[in-house]
């Protein structure tokens, strides 16, 4: 009985420490990943990005495959309709950033290369009033990594 109580307490403790995925929507997971990264909480940030990829990567791939190029002068609302693509792309960018900060260049390169190769039409809304493309930012990061390797 005593062992069971300890185990239950341990499990509840673990449950408390686990990241809260909220409603599990891609938007929620991405926002939480940004916040965790901003707060320096690498493990939570990685957990949120992993969950987003696990749940929405397939849908994101479909959305990406449906595009030959990004529509020009598209209303913001239309861009938001590609929610899975946008959030999965953004999560891969966050994952790359987090891994870079942790010193895991190999892991970061994998995440960023996947973003560039598979989700290049993902877009992320900047609160300042425009969309930016995580794949473009990832490409820049990859060349920046190359810069350090060329020492």
């Amino acid at each position: 009985m005593k062992k069971l109580i300890i185990a239950a307490l341990a499990m509840s403790g673990l449950a408390l420490a686990a990241p809260d995925f909220g409603d599990h929507k891609s938007e929620t997971l991405t926002t939480k990943a940004w916040k965790a990264h901003g707060a320096g909480n690498a493990e939570d940030a990685l957990a949120y990005t992993a969950k987003c990829l696990e749940l929405y990567e397939a849908e994101a791939k479909k959305m990406q495959a449906a595009l030959k190029e990004l529509p020009a002068n598209e209303p913001k609302e239309e861009t938001f309709k590609r929610w899975a693509l946008n959030d999965v792309g953004t999560c891969l960018f966050i994952k790359g950033e987090v891994l870079l900060k942790k010193g895991d260049k190999k892991g970061a390169k994998e995440a960023l290369s996947k973003l560039v190769g598979e989700f290049k039409f993902a877009q992320c809304w900047d609160e300042k009033g425009w969309f930016w493309k995580p794949a473009d930012a990832a490409k820049q990061k990859l060349v920046e990594l190359e810069f350090d390797e060329k020492k």
């Binding site: 901003g38 190029e69 990004l70 020009a72 493309k133 473009d136 490409k139 820049q140 990061k141 060349v143 920046e144 190359e146 810069f147 350090d148 060329k150 020492k151």
Partner: protein
């Protein structure tokens, strides 16, 4: 000064004889006519009180611009001789050619010319450093710079030529945000005359590559660019091409893809579009292509991400990258826009910003050098990108600047510390300079001039080491702790962080 004396006389000569209004071609190369400061010189020297009586002459706008004196006549005669000599100067043969279906290339005297450029280089010694780093072109924002005295007392434009560097003279086009009214016909005419005079003056100089018409004149923060200004840019481009068909005309905008449509519609005479872009520079080619820009472009300012593009503290102070982090961005942007990204085939090259130093948000944000002429890591990055080789003497590398005070609020007078993580090669004897500086309170727009904020040297208690002990200022406000690392061989590294003081 001697040159200016003559310029005023030449100006008179040109206005009476060479002015198109008199239906007679200029009798000698216009570069000898009306240099910057010529008007001032005409008042102060050739038309000085005490000169032999002369007649007043007028510009088309009826402003008195000088007086004819016997000294002036002598000057004009001297100029005839100098002008004859100057005829020996032949402008470079500059051609824009289509390459493939949608690509463009620039040719100078029959050879491909990829712009490996920088903006600035006005302090003596910096043109030489540009050449040494593998650069081949320098851009100015105004024509006055072409007359600036640089190494050995040579004119900027002549020294550039001696070094084999091409020059893109900036022809300043006024900004509405500085109060210029494009509905004021007289002002617009004056601006046209000034710009065309500059074109006449320099069009035969062999160092001139192309004209840089204006800089962000359409409005750096305007979403689609001022149509009134862009229409005038078109008129200026057309007039410049009439005056000098030998050089392409480029106009420079603060890049934003939403401006492309207005530029295309209003400015059909432009040969090249110059785009100033920082965080988005790598994607400029793709954006231009998608926006339907089919002519060539150059990235006319790029480098570190701007203060408006980076993370900030809770009170909005932007976090400046270290000089090494900036170097990465320079290198990556250069590679992406010229070699890797879509639209690269339309890109004629780039101009790194700024080959020198400038107070803009901080004293170190954009500068690739310190005022001591010590180079910073972005120079190494551009050397690598331009030549494929690192410079022999690399800049010190700051890995991190750590402090519990970074991005936080301290109490007035609170003792604080900071530590540098450095890559220190064996045998290096670096020196360290820590400074507490107030946050800039005159934050301009679009690179407008800013006053340097106050420094508080007495607050640094432990200096010249990788560790710093300092004291928070007694007055509440926003500050930064700066560190500069010197290698003693002409290279340096910089970093800083913002902190706040409140009771």
């Amino acid at each position: 000064m001697k040159r200016s004396k003559c310029a005023s006389a030449a100006q008179w000569y040109f206005r009476r004889v060479g002015d198109p209004a008199y239906s007679s071609p200029a009798p000698f190369p216009p570069r000898m006519i009306a240099g910057p400061g010529a008007e001032q010189a005409s008042r102060g020297v050739c038309g000085a009180p005490g000169g032999v009586t002369g007649s007043t002459f007028f510009s088309r706008g009826s402003a008195v611009v000088g007086r004819v004196t016997s000294r002036g006549v002598l000057c004009a005669l001297g100029l005839l001789l100098a002008g004859t000599l100057a005829y020996a100067q032949t402008p470079a043969k500059v051609e824009l050619q289509q390459a493939g279906q949608s690509g463009w290339r620039l040719q100078v005297n029959g050879a491909d010319f990829v712009i490996r450029g920088a903006g600035g280089a006005t302090a003596p010694g910096l043109l030489e450093k540009l050449k040494e780093a593998g650069g081949n072109c320098v851009r100015t924002w105004g024509v006055d710079t072409l007359e600036a005295k640089v190494s050995g007392g040579a004119r900027f434009v002549d020294r550039a030529q001696q070094l084999g560097l091409m020059v893109v003279p900036g022809l300043w086009v006024e900004h509405e945000r500085h109060g210029f009214n494009y509905a004021d016909a007289a002002k617009v005419r004056q601006q046209r005359e000034k710009i065309l005079a500059a074109v006449r003056q320099y069009k035969n100089h062999p160092a001139v590559l192309l004209w840089g018409l204006g800089n962000e004149m359409e409005g750096p923060t305007s979403p689609t660019g001022s149509v009134a200004v862009l229409k005038e840019v078109e008129e200026l481009a057309r007039l410049i091409k009439q005056e000098d068909p030998a050089h392409p005309v480029m106009s420079v905008i603060a890049f934003n893809a939403a401006k492309i449509e207005n530029v295309k519609r209003c400015c059909p005479s432009l040969d090249i579009l110059g785009v100033n872009s920082y965080g988005g520079a790598a994607g400029a080619g793709e954006a231009l292509k998608r926006g339907g820009w089919t002519k060539p472009f150059a990235v006319t300012e790029f480098g570190v991400r701007g203060p408006w593009e980076v993370a900030t503290t809770a009170w909005g102070a932007p976090l400046e990258p270290t000089s090494h982090e900036k170097a990465r961005t320079f290198y990556a942007t250069q590679r992406l826009v010229t070699e890797l990204n879509d639209g690269k085939e339309q890109c004629l090259g780039t101009f790194a910003f700024i080959w020198g130093w400038k107070q803009e948000r901080t004293a170190t944000w954009f500068g690739m050098f310190l005022p001591t002429l010590e180079k910073l890591a972005p120079v190494d990055a551009m050397t690598r990108a331009w030549t494929g080789q690192w410079p022999v003497q690399r800049c010190p590398e700051i890995r991190a600047l750590n402090s519990a005070a970074a991005g936080k609020t301290a109490k007035p007078g609170q003792p604080l510390t900071a530590t540098l993580e450095m890559e220190i090669p064996a045998g290096a004897a670096f020196t360290y300079d820590w400074q507490v500086v107030a946050e800039s309170s005159t934050i301009g727009v679009g690179g407008d001039a800013e006053a340097a904020p106050a420094a508080f040297p007495d607050l640094v208690k432990q200096n010249n080491s990788t560790n710093c002990a300092f004291v928070a200022p007694s007055a509440s406000g926003n500050y930064r702790l700066f560190v500069t690392v010197h290698d003693g061989h002409g290279s340096a590294a910089t970093a800083n962080f913002p902190f706040r003081v409140a009771p």
